[in-house]
């Protein structure tokens, strides 16, 4: 199990340039596999363009209480990048004016940002319709100061989206760390206890499934059925939807793919599963990602690869929806992760 981030270990893949070089060379350079741009063109898509903004995704910091093997953020307790209240204030100004219906808070563990609750309260006042917090679940049990999070979420009608790689302890702990499964189960029970995830409840609790290895996720609705059945039978736990998300070949997952000699086979699988329908509705066409220091990206993955938006507006403090809309999306081979099979986005399947 990983204990430290790639950054802390001074692993060369902690540098986004190294990752981008790796993705641009090898099987994509020698023509064995088509680059993402070539594949788009083959299927009649000249370029991906940003449409009207619907989802504003804000990464409030890379600090996390977990060090998951597959983390694309390279998050962990040793990451110190945290959004300041000043940057949050700049985000709030945008939230007040944007027509985006969803505010999506992610990290790291977003709850670990010392200004998290203040930010949620202020953003709630701005009247966003769907307010998502991507919670790793264990944070709720990690420290007494987080035990009341389910009630806090409920108070602001936050839509909780939580990671859960499997309904068994073995697979979950292997990916996310020892003890994560039992802590997650307890956290889900805490959320259920205040009404989250109960059938018919307005308090939405959705789970995210990431494969725990070098393979793609299976059909989302079939997986949802298995998850629901197992969690209800074994633990009396309810949740609403399961989002099956493909692991993108960047950061710690890329490091794992290379070290386990699965990189080429995984890229073959992604390219083979390319679905032009999914490509037409990838999340970057209606999402904007804001980093802890206020810079703008097409998605959280591009943020980690330090690929900024292709626009003269680069920072939340200069935000202008009209200028950003219609921009060309910045892509590389990692984008195959979002176009495989039924497609993959932070909001679940897209095709």
């Amino acid at each position: 199990m990983t204990q430290k981030s790639l950054h802390k270990r001074n692993n060369k893949l902690a540098q986004s340039r190294e990752q981008l070089d790796f993705l641009a060379n090898g099987i994509f350079k020698n023509g064995e596999l088509p680059t993402f741009k070539t594949k788009l063109a083959e299927t009649g898509i000249k370029e991906l363009t940003a449409n009207t903004l619907e989802i504003l995704q804000i990464n409030v910091g890379y600090m996390c209480n977990q060090v998951c093997e597959h983390c694309h953020v390279d998050a962990g307790p040793d990451r110190k990048e945290i959004m300041t209240r000043e940057t949050m204030q700049q985000c709030l100004e945008v939230i007040k004016t944007t027509k985006a219906h969803t505010l999506d808070l992610t990290g790291g563990a977003p709850e670990m940002n010392p200004n998290f609750r203040w930010f949620v309260e202020e953003a709630a006042k701005a009247g966003i319709k769907d307010f998502i917090v991507r919670s790793n679940l264990t944070i709720i049990r990690a420290n007494k100061k987080y035990h009341d999070l389910p009630n806090f979420f409920k108070k602001h009608n936050i839509h909780v989206v939580s990671s859960m790689p499997h309904w068994t302890q073995g697979k979950t702990d292997k990916q996310r760390g020892k003890g994560v499964f039992s802590q997650s189960i307890q956290a889900l029970k805490d959320l259920n206890a205040v009404g989250y995830g109960i059938p018919g409840s307005d308090l939405r609790l959705d789970l995210v499934y990431n494969p725990s290895g070098a393979f793609l996720p299976a059909n989302q609705s079939a997986m949802e059925k298995d998850f629901k059945h197992a969690l209800l039978d074994d633990f009396d736990i309810h949740f609403h939807q399961l989002f099956a998300i493909t692991n993108l070949p960047i950061s710690r997952f890329l490091d794992y793919l290379i070290a386990s000699e699965n990189y080429e086979d995984y890229m073959y699988a992604l390219v083979e599963a390319y679905n032009p329908q999914a490509a037409k509705s990838v999340m970057c066409t209606n999402t904007l990602s804001v980093s802890w220091d206020g810079f703008l990206y097409d998605c959280d993955f591009n943020q980690m690869l330090e690929l900024p938006v292709n626009s003269k507006i680069k920072h939340i403090s200069d935000y202008n929806e009209n200028v950003l809309s219609g921009r060309q999306i910045v892509t590389s081979q990692h984008c195959y992760g979002c176009t495989a099979g039924a497609g993959s986005s932070c909001q679940g399947n897209v095709a």
């Binding site: 499997h166 309904w167 068994t168 073995g170 697979k171 499934y209 494969p211 290895g213 393979f215 793609l216 996720p217 299976a218 059909n219 079939a222 997986m223 298995d226 998850f227 073959y268 083979e272």
Partner: protein
Amino acid sequence: MQKTYYDPADLKKFSKISDWNEELGEKFFDYYGKVFEAGALSEREKSLIALAVSHTVQCPYCIDAYTGDALQRGITKEEMMEALHVSAAIRGGASLVHGVQMMNKVNKLEM
């Protein structure tokens, strides 16, 4: 000609079988696809059956494909190994049950 009988890369070329007989190839792949669709059995159950049979027929391509397929479907190692033991039990049992024939013959021939 390659130096080994099996090459993992050949699995990706399976569909090329149709190149030399398009009609039968396509019929086969249509049938194959239909077989694995959810019906009275779920796709998950069919995947486990396929994994077990792959071992019975000792097909390296099939083992490669259906191990990956099982992982994708969230099938656990424990479920996979139990399915294999079903396959092994039937295979072993198939040998052993013929022992009855042997015993019948012995009983017939011996005084």
